[in-house]
Subunit: 121 residues, 2 copies
DNA sequence: TATGGAAATGAAAATCATTTTCATTTATGT
DNA sequence: ACATAAATGAAAATGATTTTCATTTCCATA
């Protein structure tokens, strides 16, 4: 088992607390940090295990890592132009919590994304 | 541009209206149908374009295709054992619709999944 | 009924994210 | 200094998906 390379976490933070493994890697390269892609993946996974970040999926299937504790929000994504609006989801939080309780689940997280065509498209 | 091979749609229906491209392919093979993986992918994409099916992502990033019009439901997934409970999400439907309207989006769909540890794990 | 072009097909190669392997380097305790 | 464990990263393996391209099937029309 390996522990997370601290530079990975710091880069993820600098990236706005939201990025894919490849993006973190590219970012570190651009900034002149010497690190291997493998280490980036391993560190991110380790951060996930430690519940310091969690994982979502882009529409194209790429995994994106998000700092836990970041203001939790959801996305409204345009299928046409890809524009993304951050929206707030109090209703979802309540729903998730209620459903989890009802079925005896604990330690729950959730994802919720809305997609459609924006006004311009 | 290519049109959907009707056997693909019929197989997706038979699969319970919910399967990945690879699964549809394997299923057709098992049933003795002669078809190429490429055609399965193309047909599913074409069905997506025609809004006859839509796409979600498994936790591992694999795309799964769902017949539109299937009773729309959400999932509560255990991170430990993978057990999945189908749950209903009236609250989400309303939320999605409200958010879409507020931002001028039309033709919207959504995904929402809850994940945690089930009582057994 | 031929026939020419468009659409459909599928095998094989290409792509891309992610994981695994494995040899090397770095840390740490004794 | 030594031994052992942990961390690292290059390269290969994996697996889903897409692209390429040559071939086959359809279909409308001469």
């Amino acid at each position: 088992m390996s522990r997370s390379n601290p530079r990975v976490l710091s880069t993820l933070e600098r990236a706005g607390g939201f990025a894919s493994a490849q993006e973190v890697y590219r970012l570190m390269q651009r900034e002149g940090e010497s690190i291997g892609l493998t280490t980036v993946y391993r560190s991110l996974q380790s951060l996930v295990n430690d519940k310091i970040v969690d994982v979502l999926r882009r529409e194209d299937g790429e995994a994106i890592y998000r700092l836990c504790g970041e203001a939790h929000h959801h996305h409204l994504v345009c299928k046409g132009c890809g524009d993304t609006v951050e929206i707030e989801g109090g209703a979802i939080e309540k729903w998730a919590k209620a459903m989890a309780e009802e079925h005896g689940f604990r330690d729950v997280g959730h994802t919720a994304e809305i997609f459609g065509l924006c006004a311009k498209c």
